[in-house]
Amino acid sequence: MAWARNVLRVNLTEGTCKNEPLNMDWAQKYLGQRGLATKYLVEETDPRVDPLSPDNKMIMTTGPLTGTCASTAGRYSVVTKGALTGAIACSNSGGFFGNEMKNAGYDMIIFEGRAPNPVYLLVENDNVQLIDASEFWGKSVWDTEEGIKAKHQDPLIRVASIGVAGEAGVKFACVVNDMHRAAGRSGVGTVMGSKNLKAVAIRGTLGVSVEDVGSFMQATAEGKQTLADNAVTGQGLPAYGTQVLMNVINEVGALPTRNHRDVQFEGAKNISAEAMAEPRADGKPNLVTNAACFGCTIACGRVSTVERSHYTVAERPEYQIASGGLEYEAAWALGAATGVDDLDALTFANFICNEQGIDPISFGATVGAAMELYEEGVIGDAETGGIECKFGSAKALTDLAELTGKGEGFGAEIGLGSKRLCEKYGKPELSMSVKGQEFPAYDSRGIQGMGLAYATANRGACHLRAYTVSSEILGVPEKTDPHVTEGKAGLVKAFQDATSAVDSSGLCVFTTFAWSLDDIAPQINAACEGDWTAEKLLEVGERVWNLERQYNCAAGFTGKDDNLPARLLKDAAKTGPAEGLTNGLDQMLPEYYEVRGWTDEGVPSNETVERLAL
């Protein structure tokens, strides 16, 4: 019930596909998805493995609620050792792929080894086969998805695939499902490419059932009502999407601009949700509609078009379509981080990121770093292949999106990510990253807690591991002062633990604008066997967090890697409400280790390991 209790193990080297029962003892301790797949990865691989070696494994995983009618219950994650970071990677995606996998009867699919030649996996319930993918290798995500559906004459197949970027070894390649939903960060698509696995195509018709259906229908109905009644999940996100944040974060002086040189972007309003809704020259707005992932009653997703006369698409009718984006993180990275405020250029660059499977956050942020290298004279036209890589250049952004999507020209260097790029040119301090992963869209000088959240996020800089923006800016669940460091250690820990539990359930973390674990526990408890209380979920979350931390420690990361670039620690914010502030990480980190029950070096102590039964 809820869990399919079934794992599909695919050995790409041998070309074998085998079923095995899900370890239900582990399911009781790690719930599912992020937590449970991490447990499998920890048990089955050496954390020191090269992420791109056949000895690394890649796990596609659902949660127990995935595929049920709970709101947002369509999530799946890709868990592996990240190509960008060398740390534990867990990238979560919506769309409709996760529920299809569950409906086919699988909690997870574990990919091992490396196929001798490109293949894709076709799953039709218990009919599973690896199929030669040579006709799709070199094709985009969009062409691959359409091609597989056409080949098998089944438009209901759901596909998760990599684009050319994942094949070419771009370090921040994604796994993209349903055309524009992505397991986006840390280079999980790069790992998939290294395994010669082009796509996973699934058709599931078995259905998903739950333990106590009466209680489940009641608990999920109450949950949906709570989401509908909440200002963020019931109004803000459906109307404006995550882009509701662009002007808000700019106004509080926490919108990292031009590679974090500034904290406010003068062009923010031109790339905001409000701008997306304004009619353009052609009389239509950029935004076509909002769209939901499977089972989601919030529907924050954006579907947009590029204006037809825009230089990016005027001669290319294939891009004169509606597709996914812009979401806030992408709009920030493609826009503010590069100083570009051309909404159509951003929308186009985002299309390319989806089409070729690259993470728009790491891509945009790396372009921002390259622009600083260019303006500093560290690199020139010889390195960029003639691209005038200046802050604010829409043409540079869109050209680099296309080149990076294919791993060609200077795009191959952008595809290294900002850390490797800046190190290559002797300017490591210009990479705005933690553990090799670029920051998302919040400047930690103006939102202090996010500095600690970034520094300690197990997959490298990430907003989705502890979204203290919720408390520090939006006042959810309660308002804290974004400019102080006091209390942030406990706040970050609380967010990290709760989020780990949500990410292990099959639900979307965006529900937590309205739901606490007290709202989520009854839904899980009704669906799953066992006694699932909010307290137990929090314990699972803390256990998952510590398991990930142990993996990273074993992989060679230490407390020294819980750090921020000097720019954020030494160069004060120049404008806005946070003017004069740097991030006070050193005031938060020791306390964080203490509340975590870790040693001064940031290693989970023996007592903590014992307490959490790790």
């Binding site: 409906n103 259905g207 078009t305």
Partner: protein, 159 residues
């Protein structure tokens, strides 16, 4: 008063809660593959469109059925498949001009919308009111109201 399902695709977000509710009430599991209502996603246009049986008055499926397994529920107007009588010949699936009667290989019977006996779960589950269950004689009421609101009423509009 007879009611009918009314679908406003403009309001649909493509979340599939209707398919989940339909499969839950009819099959006892969450399984969009067995839903009687289907949401189509026209990706390149950014349009999501739910579609299901319109309950034709002169129902072609009912007339085509060789064993009279499809009958009229006089109270709701629904054309209802009797699992006891259906022999799975699929003639109704060919007869239906709209494709809304489909074969279910796991039972060997056909499935179609039966309006849940007059209380359709899809409409209740829809979070955006894209699917509603309204007076069958006034399915155009909302659209009429929208146009009426745009009508210049002269003195009234200026008041």
């Amino acid at each position: 008063m007879q009611k009918s399902l009314h679908i406003d695709p403009d309001k649909c977000t493509g979340c599939l809660q209707c398919e989940l509710a339909c499969s839950h009430v009819n099959e006892g599991v969450f399984n969009p593959a067995k839903s009687r209502i289907k949401v189509f996603n026209f990706h390149d246009q950014g349009r999501m469109v739910p579609y299901t049986c319109t309950q034709c008055d002169e129902a072609w499926c009912m007339q085509a059925c060789p064993v009279d397994a499809i009958t009229l529920d006089a109270e709701t107007g629904a054309k209802v498949v009797s699992d006891a009588l259906c022999v799975g010949c699929k003639v109704c699936t060919i007869a239906c001009p709209f494709g809304t009667v489909n074969y279910n290989a796991s039972t060997g019977k056909v499935i179609k919308c039966d309006l849940c006996g007059g209380d359709p779960e899809c409409a209740k589950a829809c979070p955006t009111a894209a699917i509603t269950y309204v007076d069958a004689n006034w399915t155009g009421l909302d659209r009429m109201r929208q146009w009426a609101a745009k009508t210049d009423a002269g003195a009234q509009a200026e008041a």
